[in-house]
Symmetry: C2
Subunit: 110 residues, 2 copies
């Protein structure tokens, strides 16, 4: 495996600004969703797939690898993907999004 984005390869990091790297990493399909679905409890790869609207295992596996290399997600001993402490922090950052989304909908359908 060893794809390695860790030491300076995440797209967008050319700018040197870590936000860009993060924004780029999160701006890929299913990245945000995966973090979101893992917010409460760990899930097996298959349960995660189900939670993610039956997304293709190819992409899911790719994102999972990237997120693991980024240090946000980890694969537990007995199987199952879960958030690392760092990943949990990141997820907290996104929590206000939930409330925002509710307000957003009401304005859209208004």
């Amino acid at each position: 495996m060893a794809k390695q984005a860790a030491s300076g390869g995440v797209r967008g990091s050319r700018t040197g600004r870590p936000v860009m790297a993060l924004l780029d990493l999160l701006g890929r399909r299913w990245s945000l969703r995966i973090l979101w679905e893992l917010r409460d409890a760990p899930l097996t790869s298959r349960a995660l797939r189900t939670a993610c609207d039956e997304a293709s295992p190819t992409v899911l596996q790719a994102r999972l690898t990237e997120l693991r290399e980024a240090g946000f997600v980890e694969l537990g001993d007995g199987g199952g993907y879960g958030l690392t402490p760092l990943g949990r922090e990141l997820c907290e950052t996104f929590m206000p999004l939930h409330r925002f989304a509710e307000r957003w909908r009401s304005k859209r359908s208004a």
Copy 2:
């Protein structure tokens, strides 16, 4: 062209949960970046392109349309794209990401 989305077509909204729709919308290439680059002041389409690392105008235009239909971005009278009040709210939601990214980097390169 009249793409889509405006009145209930954002991918991911099939679940009925607005977070999913939002997560999906933001989980497309350059979406987060565009919001980020507009955080301070409006930019012309070309300035935005420059800010976004010379991204292809095709995608940029597509994202811009989607973000406009979502009500986050608007095209000013005298030209130039800017955030709507709603878009500014959303951007505020992402601000903690900046600080997080800094911490993230220090842990990655540790």
